[in-house]
Structure formats: C-alpha cells, structure tokens
C-alpha cells in the first residue's frame, strides 16, 4: 500500500465520521455544514485518485464538483433563510 492510498483511506474514515454528525445533527444547519465538509473531502479524494491512476481528466471532474458543491450549499442556505420563498 503506497502513501497516497493510505491518505485516501484516512480521508474515507474522516468522511464516515462527518457522516455521523450529519445523521445526529440537532439542527438543519449542522447537516448543511456536514454536506460542505464532505464535499471538500470528496474533491481531495478525486484529486488524489487522479494522481494515483495518472489520468488527468479526473481533475476536470473535481473542478465541476467544486462548483456544484458551492452552488448547492449557497442555494440550500438561502432556501432555508427565506423559508422556502425564492424569487
């Protein structure tokens, strides 16, 4: 097992622990925070996977995932803030 594969395994363990916070989270904003943290960790794992397998098109996937994660987090936060009234 190389160093980068061990890193990938540790990030997977972190994602599982944050998922526990998402499930337990008392308020909806805790769950949103967990979504944000999991999205950042998934971007890291995609970049490490691209370096392990030497396929640079996976970096484009990571770029699109970063943009979609940002847009979804901001949209859900504003949806809760306006109590379902988006205009």
């Amino acid at each position: 097992m190389t160093f980068l594969e061990t890193t990938l395994l540790v990030i997977a363990i972190y994602i599982t622990l944050v998922l526990v916070r998402v499930i337990l989270g008392p308020t909806i904003w805790d769950r949103l925070l967990g979504l944000n943290a999991i999205s950042a960790k998934i971007i890291m794992s995609i970049v490490i996977l691209a370096l392990i397998t030497n396929q640079s098109y996976l970096l484009d996937v990571a770029l699109v995932y970063a943009l979609l994660g940002f847009i979804s987090t901001v949209l859900i936060a504003r949806f809760i803030e306006k109590k379902g009234d988006i205009t």
Partner: protein, 100 residues
Amino acid sequence: MIDLLAYLLITVALLFMALGVIGLFRFNDFYSRILISSKIETVGFLTIMIGLIVLSGLTYATMKIFLITLLVMVTNPLSTHAIARSAFLSGYTINQETRR
C-alpha cells in the same frame, strides 16, 4: 528529498483535518462547530493541495490542481458564511444551559 517534503505536507494536512473532525464532535453549539470546521477545513485543503502540487512536479496537471485550489480557497469561506448567515437570520440562538 522533494518527495519527503510532499509527504510531510500531506501528513500535516491530515492532522489538521483530524482536528476539524474532532472539533465537530467536541463542541456542542452550532456557532462553535461552524467556526472550527470552516477554518480547519480551508487550511487542511490548502496544505494537502500544496503537498500534491509538490509531489506531482511541474506538469500540465499541476496547473489544474492549482486552479482547483484557487477556486476552493475563494468558495469554501463563502459557503460557510452563507450557512452561518442563514442560521443567524433564521433566529438560531445558543442554548445557555448546555453551553460549556
């Protein structure tokens, strides 16, 4: 030698992220949790990406990793701010009894 530096940077980033995950369970109100999570996540992301840039050398893929780093460095604090603003404007207050 340069690989050793990259491994050191990635290990430091994993330690930062471990602190962030511990902080997510250690504090028991939302504003403390969002504070520790946002700071530690951004720093851990920057450190691990710099480590991967050092590891992969100067290639075409390095520019893309740099672009992703730049993008997340701007958008991660913005999305955390959006969550905290949403909680504050919706009237979330800290429960004084369970505060530590």
